[in-house]
Symmetry: C2
Subunit: 165 residues, 2 copies
């Protein structure tokens, strides 16, 4: 049973910004483990059914996370684009780790009302701040699920879905 | 820009229970479209890399959604189990639609403090109510992403990821 005071309950009836960031970073850590599980060459080339290799999907995640959180924090959106491409797993992991730090840095600067405020993400997609955050997280989960099939079809066991710590 | 009053902001700094249900039901509608996209036989049999056919994953979603929301609402948890098995797509869709109705019915009965309260889901997994809801949603997104690869490898275009209405 919890020990929440009434004040805490009023401040975060469902989830607080800090908890939402921790949830996202837990997923991002699992995505990092999924990147690590790929053989170097397969990360950039392996595909099933004409779908994108996992590295291409990771560029998409990177293109959304820090630029998206920055847009939610400031109301200023850059044009949406994938992250810059790299050719080695270690360089992709470096981009990932930099984004992890940047996201932790930007997040506390999001004014709390921005989660409920309507805006247009990257000048293209209307919604509330929370809807954008959910889109970024859910898109990462969705495409990472695809990567699990790539790994299994290569005979590689993916990290456990619940292993986010 | 939004028109939230200060009161609304205090009531739902990040997301309200009603918005969280709508988010989940949007994902559940996309999962329904994914079930529909499968050829009848492939839904129950098709696999890549030794992973479960999509129907088996849908039983898992069904085993979590209504029983999980009931546990969060009441603090009383049944033993966790997949939903009962069926053999036709229309019967799986009927189970799905019943769960959609049941979830809408149960959700408003969740006392708001339960989202932040610690409990043990299905008597097995410790966490807060919100962590359980996220697990149920995220698990569905994850395995549905897997189903997208099944569909693509069968030459079938999956529903658009953003199509939740």
């Amino acid at each position: 049973m919890g020990n929440n005071s009434q004040t805490q309950i009023l401040d975060k009836p469902v989830i607080s910004p800090e908890e939402l960031l921790a949830h996202w970073q837990g997923h991002r850590l699992l995505t990092r483990k999924t990147i690590e599980a790929f053989p170097e060459d397969k990360l950039f080339t392996y595909s099933i059914g004409g779908m994108r290799p996992f590295a291409e999907l990771v560029y998409e995640f990177l293109g959304m996370a820090v630029p998206g959180a920055t847009g939610i924090a400031t109301g200023k959106w850059q044009q949406w684009a994938d992250a810059k491409k790299v050719t080695a797993k270690k360089d992709l992991l470096s981009l990932w780790d930099q984004a992890t730090e940047d996201l932790n840095h930007i997040w506390p600067a999001i004014p709390v009302h921005r989660f409920q405020e309507e805006d247009v993400a990257f000048g293209q997609w209307p919604g509330t701040g929370i809807s954008f955050v959910f889109y970024f997280i859910d898109n990462e989960i969705h495409h990472r699920g695809q990567a699990y099939v790539y790994l299994r079809s290569l005979g590689i066991e993916p990290p456990a879905f619940w292993d986010r710590g």
